[in-house]
């Protein structure tokens, strides 16, 4: 009976703090995505549009680790029994991906474009079912700088 109460408390704590953290994170993601709209980022191997002679190209990366909260983990385990999409983890990974790309962009605010964007996901504490799992997303790509200044460089 005590076990039940403890689990319930953890689930409730996980839910409230997890929800709070998530909505704050999404708010920050939306704002920063808007702010970095001027920096085109593609998975293309070549720069988009007409871009002047490239002066510099360098590897840039953004990395983030986000932890699962107790509620999400509980929900995912319940899902394990029935099958189906683990909706609880969808927002977690969505946030991680977008945060990683944002960090990548923030590392090179003066670049003209970021090309060849790649994303990699890995789970930390893999296989260790007893511990709270967390997910890592690594975004990497090539930032290219051209002679033209940034405002002209944006391929229109």
């Amino acid at each position: 009976m005590e076990n039940l109460a403890i689990v319930a408390v953890f689930i409730a704590l996980g839910y409230f703090f997890g929800r709070m953290a998530e909505s704050r994170h999404y708010q920050s993601i939306h704002e920063r995505e808007q702010a970095f709209l001027h920096l085109p980022t593609t998975s293309s191997k070549k720069p988009l549009g007409h871009i002047g002679p490239i002066t510099q190209a360098r590897l840039v990366q953004g990395n983030v680790v986000i932890s699962v909260d107790y509620f999400k983990r509980f929900l995912a385990t319940l899902r394990n029994i029935f099958g189906g999409t683990i909706q609880a983890y969808e927002t977690l990974l969505d946030r991680a991906r977008r945060e990683a790309v944002l960090r990548l962009k923030e590392s090179c605010p003066d670049a003209d474009q970021i090309i060849n964007l790649r994303l990699e996901t890995s789970s930390i504490s893999k296989g260790d079912t007893e511990r709270i799992g967390s997910v890592e997303v690594l975004a990497y790509g090539t930032a290219i700088y051209s002679q033209q200044n940034t405002s002209q460089a944006a391929p229109q």
Binding site: V7, P40, G49, L75, T77, L78, I81, T85, Q87, P155
Partner: protein, 274 residues
């Protein structure tokens, strides 16, 4: 081709269903599944129990010599006295095997029916009962468990519970913990219904033997008094036994319904000093 920088209007990578809704649905599913399987397996246990005749049962357990270690045995006088009261009830029930009694020195106020026909009485129980009628009721209650085959049922259900728990420990530990608690609740509810049934049988035996049901509620009343004094305790009698007042009330109602009289009780101390 032009590159248009814009943000997507919708996030198509996440589901927009509320997580609490999902949580509630999944929980209902799991708990429903567990209770249903517990109920179905319990049904099969009952079926199996009904198919074992008391004779087979006696033979089965005669070969198994389990060393029940409940503690130090009480004096021969105590054992014989309790055995006498129990044997005197024999005319009033039809349990086809011997029911030896073991009295164990313990503060616990409890008695139990073991598979194979043995009844264990903790000496704490003898200290809190004043009349032989009261003791006879408790012994008759244990006989009721034998008559209703509750010892077999509880073994069967214990196995079911263990099997289901083991099955679930493969899952996440917090979930299997939760499910085990749920099942234990179900088990307790079931045990309560068996206790009421044993009380009913005991009342019948008591009335048959003494011609009245005086003293039937003596133990419960004594326990109630102690409960008030101790509040908590090692009285694991309470764990599976329905709340005392409920049991007392049920006994009153049943006595009225069946027109059992309440007569004078015989003192336990008069017959023998423990």
């Amino acid at each position: 081709m032009k590159y248009q920088s814009s943000l997507p209007e919708h996030n198509d990578n996440v589901s927009h269903q509320h997580p609490v809704r999902e949580f509630a649905l999944l929980m209902l599913g799991v708990i429903g599944f567990i209770l249903l399987s517990f109920w179905i397996l319990g049904f099969f246990v009952d079926l199996a129990v009904d198919s074992i005749s008391p004779k087979d049962e006696a033979e089965l357990f005669a070969e198994i010599d389990i060393d029940w270690d409940f503690g130090e045995k009480s004096s021969i006088q105590k054992q014989t006295r309790v055995q006498q009261i129990l044997d005197a009830l024999r005319l009033c029930h039809d349990i086809p095997f011997a029911t030896p009694v073991t009295v164990v020195e313990s503060k616990d106020i409890n008695a139990m029916a073991l598979p194979g026909g043995r009844i264990v009485v903790f000496s704490g129980l003898l200290d809190s009962i004043k009349s032989s009628n009261g003791l006879a009721f408790v012994l008759a209650h244990e006989l009721g468990h034998f008559k209703n085959r509750d010892h077999l049922r509880s073994i069967g259900r214990g196995i079911v519970l263990a099997a289901l728990s083991t099955l679930l420990t493969g899952a996440n530990s917090s979930i299997s913990q939760m499910l085990t608690s749920t099942m234990t609740l179900g088990q307790a509810k079931y045990s309560q219904s068996r206790e009421s049934k044993a009380d009913e049988t005991a009342l019948q035996i008591l009335n048959c033997h003494y011609g009245h049901v005086g003293g039937a509620t003596e133990l419960f009343e004594a326990l109630q008094e102690q409960e008030g004094a101790w509040n908590f305790g090692m009285l694991h009698y309470f764990d599976t036994h329905p709340e005392l007042q409920n049991r007392i009330n049920a006994i009153y109602h049943l006595s009225k319904e069946r027109d059992y009289q309440v007569g004078k009780t015989q003192s336990l101390d008069n017959s023998v000093s423990f």
